[in-house]
Symmetry: C2
Subunit: 402 residues, 2 copies
């Protein structure tokens, strides 16, 4: 959106059916705060701690080498170079760290080094990291039932789920995202969560938490992994209640301030100021890289420990692959735990994933972190994985042979 | 607003008739971005440049001395101490710089050193400063007519006003703020400027600029000062067109980045992303102090010149007191120019003023800058000046005698 004012045919406005439609979403992912109320994740007032960089000559050489890497897409398309994959995946920004140093960094689309980008469902992994920190430190009991921590949930299906089931998305709660069904839960959820004034006569729940308190049961807790945003929002409620702080404040206190973030981040909110723990984060690319480093180095950044090593070890240990199912063809044999994806295969990989191709991809075997912001036209990682996962594996092999 | 979620009787929500009512406004002034879409004024990615502070012992001594200062309110109330005036004026944060060093700093209400506060009409002076920089540097001709710079204004009253008349608020345009009149211009303006989706069937202007293009004439341009927010919004349009950047981006480039700001600031926006140049700014207290220093030191901060000295000299020179009128009893004999208040009296004082008691008050004679954020219950500076201006003058005398 450019011009003062932008011409009518170029305007990007509410509602989300407009601003998240392609190609408008390619702008919106960098400018969510102009469209929605938000709450800050403060970096504090100190000086940022710069990331370490490979020296210029080495970075130049690595950049050329990485751009020329070839791989075979998983969907039968002909071999592709790394450089070609960036365009194929509508990449807006990508940062690669190897052994804690930046070896590759590119910005395109709407993103620049001093901008922020919508993380979408990578937000869940931020919430999950905070939850796992509280669990490991003993402030949140993973065996407790939700109702023991959040008494307001007593009347709904979440009451009897354990904290661990919420964090692993194995709860048995009803949540249909069938957009063609006017009675689908997603509509009631969207209405509750909208920060816009409620329509006259609205009598549904107000905000994320009132919605979560009345969710109905479906299936049995602990039986199977079903990916659903509401579990991450419930995790946000647990985190807030156990720590006494909303997710955004805890993220500032435990991560953004001590990790020397370069930029404040933000989260979208509902109509009563609750941050959207399941998808509301916008952040800078390098700050997401700092989160990736904290995962790779098990809680340490720039020589300082921000949380116990057990936090990352618990996530790396994964959930139960038998419960994972087959909904994500590229990830069968993997799992989902503490709101992080744990990949199958010989490399030890964990990841945060957003629905338009955003990722923090941590390969422990290769000592590599990839952070990518993207705005793929369709919200389907099954279309993005085929030109991403083999590229990431090719890069891991290349860096290991440096 | 506290609690996860906050209890229903404590919730602060849209619309502004709720969140800007007292006492809710005492929270809202620090949390506008949770209620409204905003656009950032980036501080960039570098380290902040700390303000200089008087040493601890001297600051302790000065703080006690300042708190004990007494003055006579202008409205006949009995003498009051400086410390008492802070509560009387619902002060949320106050910073005093003398000879470029911080000598006094307090936070209360909703504000902390790492928080931001609504600047309200102090935003106008930020817009005016940017406009004056462009004028002094030759990028904006103060003698040009609005229509020469913004051709879209051709059909309305602003077309024939000069840039200088806009910056001095001596335009002859119709803009009634009679809240009791359902046909008052303020309602049409609010509807156009709202970032919320327009009601079904809405056919009025979309956003600040479409509204400004159709404003009708009333009186003659250049005849008299009438304080009206629309002139500041028109100044924002002129700034954006002359510089090729929206006000928030220019503020970042010319001020926030080079002055070593500690925090990003933000501005509320209309439904198509236009920053509210007449009132949308939220910023940190110390960053407003940096703006005050730039005025006091005529464009120099931390030894670096950010804009020509002529910018501040032009503002200090003032507008025409004969056109100023009597609407502001404490300021009769003063003037308003480049969207700054120029005070009458022996001290040379210029100020930015917000409607709930916010101010940047620069006393050149005393080499003093006072920055105050406040949330006075009523939006009337005529109620706040009586316990503010004599306090500021008493402080100036005290500091001159150090």
């Amino acid at each position: 959106m450019r011009g003062v004012p932008p011409p009518p045919d170029k305007r990007i406005t509410q509602p989300d059916s407009v601003y998240f439609s392609f190609p408008k979403l390619r702008w919106s992912v960098c400018h969510l705060r102009q469209l929605l109320p938000t709450i800050g994740i403060s970096r504090g007032l100190g000086a940022p701690v710069p990331l370490a960089y490979a020296d210029d000559a080495e970075r130049e050489r690595l950049q050329q080498g990485i751009d020329a890497l070839t791989f075979e897409p998983l969907d039968g398309r002909p071999p592709m170079t790394w450089a070609q994959s960036l365009a194929a995946n509508y990449t807006d920004g990508i940062l690669v760290l190897h052994r804690d140093r930046v070896v590759y960094e590119r910005y395109s689309g709407c993103l620049a080094e001093d901008g922020v980008h919508a993380a979408m469902s990578m937000t869940k992994s931020l919430t999950g990291l905070l939850a796992q920190i509280l669990v490991t430190e003993g402030a949140l009991d993973e065996h407790a039932r939700v109702v023991d921590i959040v008494p307001e949930a007593a009347g709904g299906a979440y009451a009897t789920a354990t904290v661990r089931q919420v964090l692993d998305m194995t709860t048995g709660v009803r949540y249909s995202e069938d957009y063609a069904d006017p009675d689908a839960d997603i509509w009631k959820y969207s209405a509750a969560a909208s920060p816009l004034p409620k329509p006259a006569g609205y009598e549904g729940p107000e905000g994320y938490f009132e919605y979560l308190a009345q969710v109905q049961p479906e299936g049995r807790h602990g039986e199977a992994f079903h990916y659903k945003t509401v579990d991450a929002d419930m995790a946000g409620w647990l985190v807030a209640r156990a720590s006494g702080r909303p997710v955004n404040e805890l993220a500032s206190e435990r991560l953004w301030r001590p990790m020397g973030a370069e930029q404040d981040a933000s989260m979208t909110v509902d109509g009563i100021g609750t941050p959207f723990a399941g998808g509301g984060l916008s952040a800078g690319l390098r700050d997401m890289g700092r989160l990736g480093l904290l995962m790779l180095d098990e809680g340490v950044i720039d020589g300082r420990r921000l949380f116990p090593a057990g936090v990352v070890r618990r996530i790396r240990a994964g959930g139960d692959p038998a419960r994972f199912g087959t909904a994500y063809p590229a990830l069968v044999g993997g799992s989902y735990t503490s709101l992080w994806w744990v990949y199958p295969g010989e490399h030890e990989v964990i990841a945060a994933r957003g629905v338009h191709g955003q990722t923090i991809y941590v390969d422990f075997t290769a000592q590599m972190v990839i952070v990518r912001f993207a705005s793929f036209p369709k919200p389907q990682n099954t279309l993005i994985d085929p030109t991403s996962l083999p590229a990431f594996q090719a890069l891991a092999s290349y860096l290991r042979e440096r």
